[in-house]
């Protein structure tokens, strides 16, 4: 037994450690404090000029700054400390206020990863809200209401279809959610109605029943229910994103969670009340006919339309809550992009009435939004920032009516980008599904900073204690285990950084726990080696037997712990998931370092020579 590792095994260990060091390294460069300036809407662009304005305002205020740059259409400027950052925020907000267009200024942190690391796409770990401070919302979309609204619309629609088909029905009603029931006086009419309805509605599963009166029950297919819900949620996500942009958050997260929830994470936001006010705002739409040139002033209203003024009638044809869908499509004849709009049946009726006698006139869509505007006023000789809500109304589409419109119509003659933007706005402005806050967590910035510090101290002290213990208890072998333990920590951080996992406070607890538990594999191996020596085995034989025999045990023990960690991940929310992630990665990396890593070191120390006694 010589206990020498073949070269390739040593190379794997060294290679893994080298990679680990590279990808863990960005975490040792503390990020800079920075400000980020972006346009509030797509139309406002950040240019070199914006950047110059920002620089000049900071120079004038005597605030030092460095490294101004434009990244992904956003201006970023770095500042020496957090104190300067807060002062600079006010200064920069004031400066860009005077520029044409609306800008959002956000505080953020800019990574200081050196270029050679960034080129290897090595990035520092992301911090969770409990470490950065910020607001977390869990919004729940009332999808049941969305479905029942759709059933209501379909009910009116079905009645109209039956009337148009001259089929006499007794009643059409909704006896249960997702279900419509139509009753008829005779079976013949019922069967005829079924054929008609089946050809018109692919969203229903139809069933002929006979309880008293011949009837059809129509149940929304689950695929249709999913589609309606998905649409409602993606619409709400879009609306929420638009709102969040207004908040000036550098890295917001808006994401669907499960069937009917939306997670909103707003790092750095300190006042949940302001966030709630802005998230709670809804945009709306109004369809109005363009005013006739000779119309009296009292019956018209002027709106902004791409910089010009469009005069529309005061009378509203249809409101946004009648819009069910707005999608980008293509004209089958010209294959040019278009926007397909679907109204509910009542909306279709109103639209039909308004357009049938107005072919050739133009129909405008007005987008209405509540926004906040910063203004600056002198109060007692001091300039104070005042936030005022205001309603912005603008025309997003003005198109000529070519035919009497109904439930479905389309806006053609658009460029690809225009069509997409218009569909987005139409959806955002159509009444979004009702949403309420299911969960909210706010962590103050000071608490976040404190959590980072406490976490770092815990990891350091915990690690120190374990290193000391292992050294005293296992001597030379303890050194090998300690090197492996530190390597494990490096690998754990490297893996977390490179897969973009988020570090949370429970995640730090997971790291601390991993430090304590990771040595278990080495303890098992070393105890076994001691035992084998006690049994009279030669030192080299004992080393080999210790590693070989302990492997199965380590494997079984770690795999079961991994099962538990995976379950924890699947049931946990935010912070607990963080714990499960660090625990799982820690288990995997520790198996590598404790078995292969330690073996490589021990082989290096004892392998290939005649050893009389092991320092264990």
């Amino acid at each position: 037994m010589i206990n020498k590792y073949p070269i390739w095994k040593n190379l794997i260990v060294v290679g893994a450690l080298a990679l680990g060091l590279i990808y863990a390294m960005p975490n040792i460069y503390p990020p800079d404090y920075a400000l980020q300036v972006s346009g509030e809407s797509g139309g406002v662009e950040v240019t070199e000029r914006t950047l110059r304005t920002v620089k000049k305002s900071l120079d004038d205020a005597g605030l030092s700054h460095f490294n101004p740059e434009i990244i992904d259409g956003k201006a970023q400027i770095r500042l020496p400390d957090d104190d300067t950052q807060i002062k600079a925020l006010a200064v920069v907000e004031r400066a860009v206020h005077d520029l044409p267009g609306d800008y959002v200024v956000a505080m953020n942190t800019a990574p200081t990863t050196p270029d050679w690391l960034a080129n290897l796409s090595a990035e520092p770990m992301k911090y969770g809200l409990d470490l950065r401070g910020g607001v977390h919302f869990l919004l729940e979309v009332n999808t049941a209401k969305v479905i029942s609204d759709r059933i209501d619309t379909l009910e009116t629609d079905v009645k109209r279809k039956l009337r148009e088909g001259k089929l006499r029905y007794k009643t059409v009603s909704s006896p249960a959610p997702r279900v419509l029931k139509a009753e008829f006086t005779s079976e013949d009419v019922r069967d005829e109605a079924r054929t008609l309805l089946a050809s018109q509605y692919r969203e229903f599963e139809m069933l002929s029943v006979d309880d008293g009166l011949p009837a059809i029950t129509m149940t929304l297919t689950s695929a249709m229910v999913d589609e309606i819900e998905d649409f409602a949620i993606s619409q709400n996500i879009q609306t929420t994103r638009n709102r969040v942009n207004e908040l000036g958050v550098s890295e917001p997260l808006v994401q669907r969670l499960g069937r009917n929830r939306i997670v909103v994470d707003l790092p750095g936001v300190q006042d949940p009340a302001i966030a709630k006010n802005i998230l709670g705002k809804v945009a709306t739409l109004e369809f109005r006919m363009e005013a006739q040139p000779n119309a009296p002033r009292s019956t018209t209203l002027g709106f902004d339309y791409e910089g010009r003024t469009a005069n529309l009638e005061r009378k509203i044809v249809v409101r946004g809550d009648r819009v069910i869908d707005a999608k980008v499509g293509f004209d089958p004849e010209t294959s040019l992009p278009q926007v397909n709009i679907t109204l509910d049946s009542e909306g279709g009726e109103l639209m039909h009435r308004a357009t049938r006698n107005n072919i050739g006139r133009r129909l405008g869509v007005v987008f209405i939004e509540t926004k906040t505007r910063d203004s600056y006023q002198m109060i007692d000789g001091v300039e104070v920032k005042i936030q005022k809500p205001y309603v912005e109304k603008r025309v997003i589409s003005l198109a000529t009516v070519q035919a009497a419109l109904g439930v479905q119509f389309r806006i053609t003659g658009l460029q690809a980008g225009e069509a997409r933007d218009l569909a987005l706005l139409l959806r955002a402005g159509a009444l979004a599904a009702e949403m309420f806050i299911a969960e909210e967590r706010t962590v103050g910035a000071s608490l976040g900073q404190e959590n980072i510090e406490l976490g770092a101290i815990s990891v350091t002290v915990g690690l120190g204690l374990v290193l000391l213990f292992m050294l005293v208890y296992f001597k030379v072998f303890g050194i090998a285990a300690n090197i492996a333990l530190v390597a494990n920590l490096v690998l754990l951080i490297a893996v977390m950084s490179s897969i973009g996992a988020t570090l949370t406070l429970p995640g730090i607890a997971g790291i601390v726990l991993t430090v304590g538990m990771a040595v278990d594999a080495n303890v098992l191996i070393f105890s076994r080696i001691r035992e084998e020596i006690a049994n009279g085995m030669s030192p080299q034989g004992a080393i080999n037997a210790g590693f070989e025999r302990a492997f199965v045990t380590i494997f079984d023990a770690n795999l079961t712990t991994l099962i538990v960690a995976v379950i924890l991940y699947s049931i946990g929310t935010g912070p607990v998931k963080g714990f499960a992630i660090t625990l799982s990665i820690g288990i995997l990396t520790s198996m590598f370092t404790a078995i292969m890593g330690t073996r490589a070191i021990i082989n290096l120390i004892y392998g290939g020579r005649n050893v009389k006694k092991l320092a264990i």
């Binding site: 009279g536 538990v564 379950i567 946990g572």
Partner: protein, 344 residues
């Protein structure tokens, strides 16, 4: 306590394990430092009574006191604020009463300036107003005092979410137990799986019981700790089971008591060392990790303590009770591999 050296009752030359034995000569040499065998199983009845007593006491407390469910599970609002000077909880309670709030709990959190206010969902308010309760509480505290009150954190959990988390937590716990039992039954043998699950159940119930008796808050982080306890305790139990299995196959002489005693003695050093390193880091976390992580640390400290004991006594005890024997662990011979066929 029997103090036999290992070679007295252990025959180490087992053909079934032949593959791993590389240094046959060394094995036959007289051991220099024999493993001291402790007669653990002599006290198994006392241990079983203690365990049973603890589990029953925990169950009674869980039945009567239940758990002090944290905000994550009950739903409601929590606000942590910092005052410039030491705050008086009595005064804050009065302020909240005056503002018309019900059922609030006010307590210090870490220091005398740091105050935690917890409030169940307010019946007088609708859902939207309840969601904004945190903001209203801070406003109420700010207007009631002229002192500077700054927000450290606020949490609101809606009733649906709380219930869901509790259900998911329970479900997760059961899934974990079931999967682990399956894995051990597959890798070891059903009796071991049973022993491991009884040990896990024992650890979880006692840890919960202590939380119930001490009336400590049971929140999501404690649930995470509990699942980690399952993982840890399992780790311990598997190490011991693994050695019992190995010795049953290797040691020819000796009854199951002696084999289990031998196995427990051999793994005792490892069991204690690992528990010690884990407890070292957990105490570091407990004392230095801050208030938010303390519940998690306590849960794990208790769990690791109980888990260490249970891996020695509970799992092995169940094996003895189930009459574990060599036959249970014989390496199965492939059917028909060597036997001649009988053909009609």
């Amino acid at each position: 306590m029997a103090e036999n050296s290992m070679s007295d009752n252990a025959s180490l030359n087992n053909p079934a394990n032949g593959g791993a034995e590389t240094d046959q000569e060394a094995w036959r040499r007289t051991p220099k430092k024999p493993v001291k065998i402790i007669d653990f199983m002599k006290y198994r009845k006392i241990a079983a009574s203690i365990s049973l007593l603890l589990v029953i006491a925990s169950a009674i407390s869980l039945g009567i006191n239940q758990l002090e469910w944290g905000l994550d599970f009950t739903g409601g609002t929590l606000v942590e604020v910092v005052y410039e000077q030491a705050a008086d909880p009595e005064e804050i309670r009065r302020q909240l009463d005056n503002a018309g709030y019900d059922g609030h709990v006010v307590q210090y959190f870490g220091s005398e300036r740091d105050v935690l206010v917890r409030m169940p969902p307010q019946k007088a308010l609708d859902a939207a107003q309840n969601a904004r309760l945190g903001d209203s509480i801070i406003d109420a505290l700010r207007t009631a005092t002229n002192a500077d009150v700054s927000l450290r954190r606020s949490e609101f959990v809606g009733p649906a979410v709380g219930e869901e988390l509790a259900n998911q937590g329970g479900l997760g716990m059961l899934t974990a137990l079931a999967l682990v039992m399956l894995y051990i039954a597959f890798r070891f043998q059903l009796k071991f799986a049973f022993g491991a699950v009884v040990a896990l159940f024992h650890d979880v119930v006692i840890t919960l019981g202590i939380f119930s008796i001490a009336r400590w808050d049971f929140d999501l982080t404690v649930l995470a700790a509990l699942l980690a306890v399952i993982g840890y305790s399992l780790n311990d139990t598997i190490v011991v089971s693994d050695r019992i299995r190995e010795n049953f196959r290797k040691v020819r002489k000796g009854n199951s008591f002696e084999v289990i005693n031998l196995s427990l003695s051999q793994t005792l050093g490892r069991t204690i060392v690992t528990s010690l390193t884990t407890l070292l880091v957990l105490f570091a976390l407990f004392f230095l990790g801050g208030e938010l992580i303390r519940g998690f640390a306590i849960g794990l400290i208790i769990g690791v303590g109980v888990g260490t004991y249970s891996s020695i006594y509970v799992a092995a005890n169940v094996l003895v009770a189930l009459n574990i024997s060599k036959e249970d662990l014989a390496i199965p011979i492939k059917e028909g591999a060597e036997d001649p066929d009988l053909v009609v």
